[in-house]
Symmetry: C2
Subunit: 149 residues, 2 copies
Amino acid sequence: MTSKTTTTAQRIACECLAGRARLISRAVSSIYEDALRPHGITTAQMGILAAVTALGQPRSSDVAKTLCLEKSTLSRNLDRMIDHGWLAIVSGDDGRSQRLRATSKGARLVEKVAPAWQTAQRKARTLLGEKGAATLQRVGDKLMAGGSP
Amino acid sequence: MTSKTTTTAQRIACECLAGRARLISRAVSSIYEDALRPHGITTAQMGILAAVTALGQPRSSDVAKTLCLEKSTLSRNLDRMIDHGWLAIVSGDDGRSQRLRATSKGARLVEKVAPAWQTAQRKARTLLGEKGAATLQRVGDKLMAGGSP
DNA sequence: CCGATTGAGTTGTATATACAACACACTGAA
DNA sequence: TTCAGTGTGTTGTATATACAACTCAATCGG
């Protein structure tokens, strides 16, 4: 006899998109953490360093918008990265906002970790499947682009 | 003139799957956090409560395997949930392992938050798109199933 | 010129997460 | 029987994350 009853808890456990998103984030992140650990940088920090480098000399609020990161979260991540000497503040014209730039040490680190990152990227692609990876990519792009207005 | 040079940082910023996974996790989670906040429970806790309820009387290691959560992470989440009175420990036969069960208060909470969860689920589905949501679901299932051996 | 508003960033606090090291209890082999 | 190994959970420490409240500077309306 097949049971037809599905409890609320079962529905939530089996269908919750937040649960899936978090699970995937944990699983994928752990691949990159393992790969980057020998270089002394974390996955989140690598993402920020790459974003700052790619954006040129962004304000921290630009980075926050791009990555959908809370400004306070970013603030503390930046502290650690500045302590490490990977990023520096460029005092801007406006007394309110600051500009961020990657230091030469930060730029060198990006190049140094790139092979490990690439390896992690391949492992993650395998874990997610080609379709899963492509979808993640596409959805992520859309969410980032949300910061346009 | 179109630039043909792509820096390492740009590649990482644009392609990193961990960055995407984390971004999506943050974006989706925030929808659920907003929905659940009035009920005093977080997204992570809701997931654990649903998992414990759905699994029956699991050991915490079972929950950890199912959700791909580090045992120490789970341990502290459980502390908070037991403090709230949503979960309780069932002393098992074996002195090492304990069993978890949802209390009646926990069960009531699941039912109470279900409508808010459902609303968040709809919003998330809209944000991700039907295809994105389906892929997240599928990939998440596969990762969970990884705990089978 | 002044006060209200707004935008940027920091700080206090709490939760989520993981790794390393530990404590404990069972299990199994010598 | 004893002791090494293994599985289970906790604790120390660090990072990641977010919300609320704050400071500070610029701007804008009057």
